[in-house]
Symmetry: C2
């Protein structure tokens, strides 16, 4: 990272933490230059970057000020899903989304792809090619069913950052986080069992429940603090829940980080009702703050938490390398892993282990955290600018997804059909619910470089939404675009 | 392949097809030199190779003769498994086998690993490294959930060899054949369902049934012609079988190729009783004869056969690239594939597609067919030489596994414990049965270069078997080492 970008990141953080309030005067260029031991022009560049991202504004002869947002979008409402276990539908819509592959003529805002074009990933490409180039035949064979030992050791080291003290023997490498979730669920539950989930909930999780014949019990979820513990407790009281499955850190799609105190309370609930917890931490390493947030697993003292993650969001999804720390369910998970895929591909395991060992992983994370945070701000700007007034937007604290809530009568399926011919793809909200709720919501990915093309695409989405709303029947229009309760 | 090796291969085939019978005089060096347009020394080299492999013997002033085997091992008996659906056990033993990873101090005769050290694989290593080296970011992303299109096209082309006319859209790339089997089973069956299998049966299949809560109905199987159709029909009559799961080509562990007529009859049975067939063809491409045997799928006219395979036995298992042609179950299999692993790793798909497109795959197969066939002969020699009289040995027509049947009272679990400290690993027979039959059998892998070390290991296994037999109680000894019925 360049000096000015580093300084900009520091200033951004202070603004976000409220150290400098909206409208407040920021330190002078000279003060910052002295404070940080950088040149005047470096400070000026940093301010220019913040200005571009619409965080600060210069005022003639007075310096820089924290910008008052033109219009702050409200947060999405606390979700109110059906309070009973339901079977999962929506497979056709998910299939439509995941069948698409990278295309030059399509701005893909729908899928959960990270950006893989940063220079900090280059050592990984090198590591991937060097095993094969040097004719290392180890990578052509199966390795240990539990995964390559050196990679498990490196992951154990990384896990310390999230408060987890685990050793390599307690980890199983999987074919992406999806296999971790699937093997974890399969190890604990049978067809017909009830799984409590946060809501909205990642569509891969939902479809896994569907595939395994389980039922989802969607729990109301707050867009800032996560799953509602009171509602969860009532659900545990009322239904024979087998597992609580959730994404407490940098939630997909809502982006919140559940406060530690709530994580602990959730664990206590699970202990009281003797249910397992499957914790999806796949975005946890790209929280915008450092040190990264703790996992529920880090508080687990009786092995009931199965921590699932992968390198698909932090490095590259095409490698299909994930892991699970299954606690007391290790052997059953290993069985499920074996019958699912036999073993995980060997070569990418060696390559990632090498990448982490040489410090490249942490370096890459530092870069991506800043990149994604900047993108969040810019994308939020665009949404508030181009989408109709009343649009509600999440405030992610990590990851690279925005959850957008439109008027409660709005149908994003219809939006998606209209966008098909316009070269833009979004993820419709209904796939994040077991029974197709959140039809008035959509998820937008802001991982990629936010070029003029992407801005045009977002503008196009906003315009199409406005057109659809205008074309809707008079009664709906009269209701106005008030927020749903 | 060198000229002499090619000639040796032709002669070997003629001997095996019975064109030249045991004890018969072979054509003179001069005759062969004229017939094949090669030099005298080439013919001599070919004969020398056959002599090394104990297939021919020179007699002074008379030329070469087809060697009479010292002692021809009998075939294993037709299996007689329990004739009712049973739950599967043996996971601990399978885990013990698969947890081992390549080690220099261990001669691994137990696992299903191919040899990956042949020069014909080099273009694959090159392809694997070049994507990454050239910074091709495509391979870092997810591709199509169904798999990379160019690879599916190449596989569709290869499938023509087995009589299958399928297009790329009918194929799904999987994470190894294991995911193909698992997704196929999961797409059709539920917990509690009955699956008919050949017996002995690949332990991965058995454990998949266990993991999915299904029951195995093991059908008697002939070591030369495969699953007994009369017994299968009785089973279909008696039990509500959902799927027939079998490996008709180059069966693992028995090595037979089911005759085409029987494949057709089996398909008719499946149609009559309206059950699906899951056909594991993972060794089909390394049948020793060319053109390779047809699949049951090639006769399928109503989409009830799910053909599963991979490149794990033909190229390299560590790549974890397989595929399934799921017929009428395509969409359900796609769902199971999605929840199992999300997608299959991208880079190895591109690399394999390139490897096939340039003709390297067929070249590699030609090489490996000959290598494995030679190894089979040598390994069979060693077994008959070093194992106690009465040992029964399979006669594989493809793949790289020998199935060895010892005295019916013999316990290979005990053998395995003894071998643990002797640096040799075998696969015990009981993992090839749902409920632990075949304790008197073992499977030996002959894929690797059959060096003096391997010979020593095989000798050691034979010696240990003899010692155990001698140490066994008197009554057993008195029973002698007669073959089980």
């Amino acid at each position: 990272m360049t000096r000015y970008a580093a300084l900009a990141a520091i200033l951004r953080q202070r603004i976000e933490q409220g150290l400098y309030a909206a409208g407040e005067r920021l330190p002078s260029v000279r003060t910052l230059s002295l404070e940080h031991g950088v040149s005047i022009s470096t400070v000026q560049q940093a301010y220019r970057q913040l200005e571009e991202h619409q965080l600060v504004e210069p005022r003639a002869k007075s310096g820089y000020f924290v910008r008052r947002p033109h219009r702050v979008a409200e947060l999405p409402a606390v979700s109110r899903p059906v309070q009973r276990p339901v079977e999962i539908s929506q497979w056709e819509l998910v299939l439509e989304l995941i069948r698409s592959k990278p295309r030059n003529d399509l701005v893909q805002l729908g899928r959960g792809m990270p950006d893989v074009s940063e220079a900090t990933l280059k050592p990984l490409l090198k590591a991937l090619s060097s095993n094969a180039r040097h004719g290392d035949l180890r990578s052509l064979y199966y390795d240990n069913i539990q995964g390559v030992a050196s990679l498990r050791e490196q992951i154990a080291r990384l896990l310390l950052d999230s408060g987890c003290q685990l050793d390599a023997e307690q980890l199983v490498i999987t074919t992406g986080c999806q296999e971790a979730l699937s093997a974890g669920l399969h190890a604990i539950c049978q067809a017909g069992d009830i799984v409590a989930v946060d809501s909205p909930c990642y569509h891969g999780t939902m479809q896994t429940l569907k595939g395994l014949g389980m039922k989802a019990l969607e729990i109301p979820t707050d867009p800032l603090t996560g799953i509602n513990l009171e509602a969860l407790e009532m659900a545990l009281e009322q239904w024979p829940v087998k597992v609580i499955l959730l994404t407490p850190n940098c939630n997909n799609p809502l982006g919140y980080i559940m406060p530690d105190a709530r994580k602990k309370r959730l664990l206590m609930l699970a202990q009281r009702y003797d249910v397992a917890i499957i914790e999806d931490d796949v975005y946890g390493d790209i929280a915008y703050s450092y040190p990264r947030p703790r996992t529920i697993k880090s508080f687990d003292d009786d092995g009931r938490v199965l921590l699932c993650s992968s390198f698909s969001k932090t490095l590259a999804p095409g490698l299909r390398i994930g892991w699970i720390a299954p606690g007391r369910y290790l052997e059953r998970v290993l069985h499920m892993k074996y019958i699912g895929t036999g073993a995980t591909a060997t070569q990418p395991q060696f390559a990632i282990a090498e990448f982490i060992r040489h410090g490249h992983y942490m370096q890459h994370l530092r870069r991506m955290r800043i990149r994604y945070q900047q993108n969040r701000d810019l994308m939020t700007c665009w949404i508030t600018q181009y989408f109709p007034a009343g649009t509600r937007v999440s405030q992610p604290r990590g990851g690279f997804m925005l959850w957008i809530e439109l008027h409660e009568e709005f149908d994003t399926l219809r939006l998606n059909r209209c966008l098909e011919n316009q070269g833009v793809q979004i993820a419709v909200g209904s796939i994040f619910s077991a029974a197709g709720k959140y039809r008035n919501c959509l998820r937008i990915n802001y991982a990629q470089k936010l070029t003029a093309d992407v801005e045009r695409a977002v503008k196009q989405v906003g315009l199409t939404i406005t057109q659809i709303m205008q074309s809707q029947s008079e009664p709906v229009k009269q209701m106005g675009f008030s927020a749903p309760e």
